[in-house]
């Protein structure tokens, strides 16, 4: 069989090979993350403690200082 010597064919072959290589490598990385629960471990050991610290130190409005103004709004009754 005659071997294709055109540069387009070579380029396409190289591209496909590269594409397949990247595809396989990407899937392998994803599989490792998935199988060893690395996403869970990252969230549990790093992200959650970091966010917890942030929320614990957050300044908050002291709602208890707000008066309970019972007469601010009317009594919504419609059956009279």
């Amino acid at each position: 069989m005659k071997k294709c010597s055109c540069s387009f064919g070579k380029k396409l072959g190289k591209f496909l090979l590269k594409f397949c290589g990247i595809f396989v490598a990407l899937n392998a990385v994803i599989f490792v993350i998935f199988f060893f629960d690395l996403d869970g471990k990252l969230l549990f050991n790093v992200v959650e403690p970091f966010l917890k610290k942030h929320y614990d130190n957050m300044e908050r409005r002291d709602v208890l200082k707000e008066p309970y103004d019972l007469n601010k709004f009317p009594v919504y009754k419609y059956d009279d």
């Binding site: 994803i30 599989f31 199988f35 629960d37 549990f44 917890k52 908050r60």
Partner: protein, 541 residues
Amino acid sequence: MAKKKLTKTLKDFWNGKPHSGEEGGRRLGDLYEDKTGLLKHREWRGVKDTFYYMYNIWGYNYVHMVLDILKFSNNPIDFIKGTWRYRWMGQTYLPVIHWFERGLQGVRGEALRASAWHYRAMVSASIHQICNFFNADTRLHGGKENDAYRHTIFANETTCGTLFYPWKDAGYQYLPMEMIPYFVTCHVNSHTVLNYIDAVQSIGLPGDPCPMCQAESGLFVLDDVPDSAPIIITCNEACDASVSTHTLQDWFANKPLFALPIPMQFDDPLLKKYCMNEIEEMWKFIEEQTGVPFSWESMKKYLERQNKLQRDEWEKWEVASKTDFYPINGVAQALFRIYSTQYGIQGDFWEEASEKVKKIMYKCVEKKINPFPQTRHRVIAWSCAPLYYSNWCTWAYNCWGLNTIINMDSLMFDMEIRTDSYENMLEDMATYHMWAPMRRMAVGGMHHIFELWDYMKRFNCDMVAMYDQLQCKGMQGVHGLFEDEFRKRNINAFWIPHALPDSRTVSRAEIRRQINDYMTTVMHEEPLDPSLLDFDDSMTW
């Protein structure tokens, strides 16, 4: 010998290890890291199921969570700002895929595929709500009351979404205040809610009322409820403790508020009339506040979609009750139903999932596939479930072959709402409202809590998992009556003590210990997977 071993290894690689210890066993308990509940590695479910799980559940849901945010959010930056602002958002929803893992552990084949669709719908509905919170929240928009804010109606989470359909086509969004910040968080990450329970006790409230009411009030005490709506509809959640919740909400939210009670005695026809009047009053309140009249067309349109969803569910229950081919596991069944019936038709998520599940279910029926082949007992779970351990039934099937076929959460709204006339609709709407969560079959009177016996027969169950919410005064009052009935009727039943969202009162390990004790001392059975009998997951999400 070596050849035999190699054949078994290849078989296990291709199909996954068999369920029971006798056959070589998959020993799921060995996969856990000590205390955290994280996995040393995920279960190898065989080539087909492992890669299905990786691409079509784990990967698919990660991608679709992002797509859902882009779909439902007016500006994705608001989503990031909201995550930074609200603990219930940031701390809770990031590990959502681990929530899938806990519910679907050990599940294979068609059950894995179908149950995951229920989870997918719940995640989509949650992102829908979260985005609605953040689209309208004045705190994320420099105090500005935008169009989304003016088109949002806040309601207590047990005030069903069905009541708000008349304003849906006019662009108004029903937004249950606690469903996402409280209810769903407990299932996904049970750590978060403890902050809210402690917050309300820190201002002097006693620790013994229902922790659900405590947590809901605590959200306001910690100022962690977004300011996303100009008006509020509250209710008593058919519980004395919740009356206090709504008083605190009235104080801290400081907005026009309409209290729509759920009657404590609800089988009385005169009371039903009262409830119908209350609902109409609430509709008048919304008309007055929004300036938009009640739309019968909008109401009818969404009720018909809701009725179709209910009929689909009946179709599924028919298969669940009469055959072994129902592909949904206990936790996916319960959470999907309580969530969909309470939130209502606010998007396409429930209907899409239901259609997909029906398709898988009929495949099981046609090909006679039993998705839970190790079932030893068909279990009905009754009363309110522990929110921090709703996946106990996944564990119970894996460890003991206890297959939870149906549960009280699924059966509460077992009805259609008539749309042939306004009067009939209102009458059914009142019934629907009065059958609120934790109401009809928990604190709803003897007749309704004892519907258990009928449903047990209908779903062909031979065992009862009886939830024992230690801080629910209503259900504590009937504990002894159930004990008497179980004995009288010679029913196998075990109790699951818990404190709804608070994992500190009864640990998951204690719940497992109680079931283990029952299965060994009363049933004299051996576990299918002994590695699951005792493990420490005290720090888990």
